[in-house]
Symmetry: C2
Subunit: 349 residues, 2 copies
């Protein structure tokens, strides 16, 4: 019996090609996409096993697991893109438990017709963010939906990490008297994305702060293992995140507007766009709530790290059966900083 020689497919056309439904169909086209784009881009031992799951050794201990979907629009924005964001955001959610991130998974949902060149740019950016963070993307999945049933590309990453012994960081641990610290300026990410979306040309480009915070967190946890709460103020910004923590911990909070660092250009853009920087998403900042006695140590650790140079103490927790977050305004008054009631910025992450 003579067997036909199996045709070798031509390499993917990464300049003018487009994703089609066969790339999600489980056949040869999908295998080629996975091989030439994903495995080549993310290149690591676990992914190279080419199984439907990645295997690696873990020590005994306290593990954390997290996931986030990324549906940001536009896909490319000043200071980042959906690929780097999908790494930073999930690394940060692992780090906010005080944990050391171990590995990531990535699920891609791609709209038919999406340019392969854009996909490659996103995968390359994601792979670079993953290498820079030292957290490999060990396993993945690709699905393709028909044109008009998606929006370019959505990425869902999951991450796992190990919590150092003795560290118990959780949103329900804030106590009256605890200091509230933030690691830098508020609102950069949301404003960068909104400027791009609205095609606003500001004189000074505003860049997203998208960054992986786990190395700074590792230094913070090493200096003060007894940190009570860490959380990154993403969707809903500082205001929503403080309200979440206040509600989880059953405390009130009092902050001072004048102490919250906001870049002048971000403040200006917020005025123009009708946004309040307290409600605008960040992707490379954290809130830290700790015993008052540890506040200065933690501020010093943050300020010594490139991602924490603008770290500031913005207020304190206090007993309040209503769990209100209140703020002394720059004008000297007091106001309640409530949850965001309606929609502020859809698809900001």
């Amino acid at each position: 019996m003579t067997l036909p020689r199996r045709a070798h497919p031509r390499p993917l056309d990464l300049k003018t090609g487009r994703v089609d439904l066969t790339h999600g169909g489980g056949g040869r086209a999908m295998a080629q996409l996975v091989e030439e784009l994903f495995i080549k881009g993310f290149d690591n031992e676990a992914l190279n096993q080419r199984n439907d799951q990645a295997a690696f050794d873990v020590p005994a201990g306290r593990m954390v697991m997290t996931t986030d979907g990324y549906v940001i629009s536009p896909l490319f924005f000043p200071g980042g893109d959906i690929g780097s964001l999908a790494v930073h955001g999930t690394v940060n959610d692992v780090a906010m438990a005080g944990a050391v991130p171990l590995s990531l998974s990535a699920g891609f949902i791609i709209e038919e017709g999406f340019p392969l060149a854009d996909l490659k740019r996103i995968v390359d950016s994601m792979a670079k963010a993953s290498r820079d963070a030292g957290v490999p993307v060990v396993t993945g999945d690709t699905k393709v939906v028909e044109k008009g049933k998606g929006d370019g590309i959505f990425i869902t990453t999951a991450g796992i990490g190990m919590v150092p012994a003795g560290v118990v960081i959780s949103g329900d641990r804030a106590k009256p008297g605890d200091a509230i610290l933030i690691s830098g300026t508020m609102g950069d990410h949301g404003v960068a994305v909104m400027s791009q979306r609205e095609s606003l040309g500001f004189e000074t480009a505003i860049l997203s702060d998208s960054a992986a915070l786990h190395t700074m967190v590792a230094e913070m946890v090493a200096a003060v293992p007894g940190i009570h709460v860490l959380r990154d103020p993403t969707r809903g910004g500082l205001a929503a995140t403080l309200n979440e923590i206040a509600s989880q911990s059953g405390v009130g909070m009092l902050m001072e507007e004048a102490l919250v660092p906001v870049k002048p250009e971000v403040r200006g853009a917020c005025e123009l766009l009708g946004l309040d920087p307290l409600y605008v998403a960040n992707e490379g900042k954290l809130i830290c709530i700790c015993p008052e006695a540890d506040a200065e140590t933690l501020l010093a650790v943050m300020r010594a790290h490139p991602l924490g140079v603008d770290a500031a103490r913005i207020g304190a927790c206090r007993a309040d059966t209503h769990h209100f977050v209140q703020m002394k305004t720059a004008m000297g008054g007091m106001r309640v900083v409530d949850w965001l009631a309606g929609e502020q910025l859809p698809r900001i992450c």
Copy 2:
């Protein structure tokens, strides 16, 4: 200073309500959705921590991690829905390493306007599948995209599990002489979905085989720790999956068509729909490749499990530098069972 009492929101309208952009905005509406639908539905200790990540203890050892996106259309099909499928599929990808699944994450991407009643139905089904499998959904995320930028709901789950000591199951371990077993009939899932999609009313309802295979795998691994390969033939079906394994392991395969179990009603529907059952997706079946000496033991273990009653030996691996998968046809001829070249069934999982 008098503070306004915080208004208590009305409960979600799970009968006639719809998802809107505020449900993904990071504010109060999202918190309500998460609390009343997801935390209530999935109810488990880790999720109840209400943090952006779940924490739990793990033993030292070999861990596996996997992810899959689910974009199936229609969302509800005979024998399951996108919720149960998103649990079964990812539990199975963990189990195909011979691992014991520990926990799942779930990322939801929902189109604006999606009925809350459908979302609740999906979450309830997912929660039931998770409870039945004993694998909790410990962490999650919700994003909402504008109407026309998605298609109802997409779910991406990730899963982790622990591999028992001494077990090394991987797609590159098939060897010439190994037996090829499958755990049951081929094509049920794909045909069930296609019948629903094409509104075909068959006399006998064809149900998806969607099921979690980890308990059967645990029994197989306990009986034969030296299994070489396990894989679930999902997208691309038996044909694509065998080709993947052949290529990864560098072997050829010879199977017999008459030995592959296919339900008569599935065979009939395939003829009507112009499908080849060998290429149709399964969601509750596995392929097992093992040393010839272990084949009968494994067949007996599978057949004793409710999900493996139709288990069959369908062929063997052999030396072949071309890594061809060949089949003795029912007519007595030979043909190459190639990868699927184009698209067969988009959005089947």
